[in-house]
Symmetry: C2
């Protein structure tokens, strides 16, 4: 029998020090979002395979951990697998995000939820990604979503709430910035530049790489796909001439003679106006027509939060007005914002997070073979200290007492009491 | 494309009201255990299939959710599956408890952990049990474990900490009781009564059913297995003559001429002495020689907490001194206590839990099409209320305002403000 000590590939054990940081961050995030009237809820980590593979998840659908059927159904699927049908072996899988399960949840529990429903979720998601530094196959997401509000009041509130959470987490000193766009602007630009409408998705996949390959890279990739130079040039002009302020977005809406683009530009500009009007703190928000976001399900506004000095984004989200309808037959407007929790844990852990334990930590060391009566007294002393709000760690005195005490002090035990028999 | 609205079989969506109860209970449990110096840590929910099927988990190993291999490895396993080897299709599975992953964790991170290591875990576990009322396939366990202490100081601390947590959760008014035994008493009794030592496990499986089938049921099942009437009679006498106090345990140790039993009885009695000596609150603890506990891995003390009026136990645990050694080659003494979190949620939810929200909840209803300047003012008012520590839910005024307000009041929004353009 082989026992394996390491966690499974791409996943990790969380040590107590990091766990303290994580708990602290989670409670700050929860506190901010609850103060905005978001209600925490939860779905199982296991989801129907039919839902997970329903083309809502974009590339994430390639990264699903599939769960084997059990009992008679597995045997049956096993016989079918002999024909090469390995797909049929699984009846469920681990969720790759919190949005798809939320849509299922809303469809399932609609009658019992407030309208609009403001949901808060914090929990693990799973992606069988290629293992790489800082990226794990199980990681926590913190999402807020507003379901049932078709207006951009929802977007405004999500941005206020999430930027407040980031500020309370201490991320403001890194100078984070919100980037905003609207999928309808992207759809409209592709059409307006003269690309075939049915190729829109393919073209957006190329645009999504602009971060990495630059504008030239996008051009040459589109060119190698056989598109006309004129369309490519026009798209590039559209993409790079209007980024920045709400005014730039509005100017774009005026310059381009396309009703869908005009409306979407006004939507973005209106959100930016409200967000920047906040008097108590300045929120840095920027219109970015090149912002695509990978996920398949977005239909309108999309946004991201980035910090210049870190490569990747720390938050992302958008509007997905057509997902819940896949479950219920009737569309429900929906928009969400997700905090990249692990990214923030990494950033704050690296700089020591300044997590001052607010409780006094005492260690009680007891000489071995202490008689029972005396031991009961020590237990009673511990109890009283705990009652006064302190943390008390109790253990036998080690042979190497000096080493033991050093270890405890390193863990923040400021007072160490010794008890002899 | 079919979308499925219900959660997967045997799992459940958690609604906001229950989530509030769960969060509250978790934070109470965490606070109590942290005050005893337990450190929270976490393992992935996915575990190596080799570890999960290593005969440590008893019957739970039959209930594993297995995860399919991916990519090339799956294709390879698929070819082997044609020979009927479905086992090889999975490389991992969902953890069925928190103890086995903790043993792996300790083996993997030993050098960086305090000694003894006092671990606190709260997280979901998974068992593909037959679906039945009140039992789910994903459920939360809250475990504390002490690793590295061979003495029963560890058991004493676990019992103090867990009964304090239960009391703080409000379970004391149901009159819970701790039941304690030692696996070595069971092993010794089976041997002493004259059963073949190699059958011990089989016999314990029958004893474990005493709760359901009664003493007579145990007798007749053992008899049908072909054991001698004399051994059966003797075992029954041993099992039912000594339950109750520490004195009864000691009397048993004296009556039975068996060194292993005598030592184990003294261990149990000594724990009981200390636990009952606590002056600040009386802990009801009872020696129960018929207590078996299903799991395969226990080696010494075992315990359970029961409330007379509920059928099943609400906590359980015990000593498992030989599990970590399977990972490291060197045994590390270990003992743990697990709170049946879902059971307690059910009990406290049924009676309304008395979860008074400590924050004031306000709802701001805004007339549709409010101009942007005015909207910014409302956002600013919201912010100020939140800054004063209140929860503010903001939404458009519904057409049926009366209905909307009733819904909000039902959710605890005590003050509803309306804003007109």
């Amino acid at each position: 029998m082989t026992f394996v000590k390491k966690p499974v590939t791409g996943m990790r054990d969380i040590l107590p020090e990091e766990m303290e940081v994580r708990n602290h961050l989670m409670s700050v995030i929860r506190e901010v979002y609850v103060s905005y009237g978001f209600s925490q809820m939860e779905t199982p980590v296991v989801e129907h395979i039919e839902n997970l593979t329903s083309k809502q998840g974009g590339d994430n659908e390639k990264l699903i951990f599939r769960i084997l059927k059990r009992g008679e159904k597995l045997l049956e699927a096993g016989r079918e697998a002999e024909g090469g049908d390995l797909e049929g072996l699984a009846d469920s899988g681990l969720r790759y995000d919190l949005t798809l399960p939320l849509a299922r949840y809303y469809a399932n529990n609609q009658a019992r939820l407030q309208k609009p429903f403001k949901a808060l979720q914090m929990g693990p998601v799973f992606r069988a990604d290629r293992p790489q530094k800082g990226r794990f196959r199980q990681f926590v997401q913190c999402d807020i979503d507003i379901l049932g509000d078709p207006t951009n009041l929802a977007e405004k509130e999500l941005i206020f709430a999430t930027t407040e959470a980031l500020t309370r987490l201490g991320m403001d000193k890194y100078g984070f910035k919100v980037y905003i766009n609207d999928r309808r602007i992207l759809f409209g630009m592709v059409r307006y530049a003269g690309f075939p409408v049915e190729d829109t998705e393919k073209i957006l996949i190329v645009l999504d790489k602009a971060d990495k390959i630059g504008a030239e890279g996008v051009d040459s990739e589109l060119s190698s796909m056989g598109y006309e130079a004129e369309a490519i040039k026009k798209l590039r002009e559209l993409l790079f001439s209007y980024s920045g302020t709400a005014e730039a977005a509005r100017r774009m809406g005026q310059d381009i003679d396309d009703e869908e683009i005009r409306q979407a530009a006004e939507n973005v500009a209106d959100i930016m106006d409200t967000v920047t009007s906040a008097r108590h703190r300045s929120i840095d928000i920027c219109f970015d027509p090149t912002l695509v976001r990978g996920m398949g399900y977005y239909t309108g506004t999309i946004f991201e939060v980035k910090v210049e000095s870190f490569g990747s984004s720390i938050c992302g989200g958008g509007r997905y007005d057509r997902m819940i309808g896949k479950f219920t037959g009737q569309d429900v407007p929906a928009v969400g914002f997700s905090i990249g929790f692990e990214r923030i844990v990494t950033i704050l852990s690296e700089e020591g997070a300044g997590l001052s334990a607010h409780k006094k930590k005492l260690a009680f060391l007891i000489e071995k073979d202490m008689p029972k009566d005396r031991l009961s007294e020590v237990f009673e002393l511990c109890r009283r200290e705990r009652e006064s709000g302190h943390i008390v760690f109790m253990a036998w005195m080690a042979k190497n007492k000096k080493f033991q005490k050093e270890g405890l002090m390193a863990e923040g035990y400021e007072e160490i009491k010794e008890f002899y028999k």
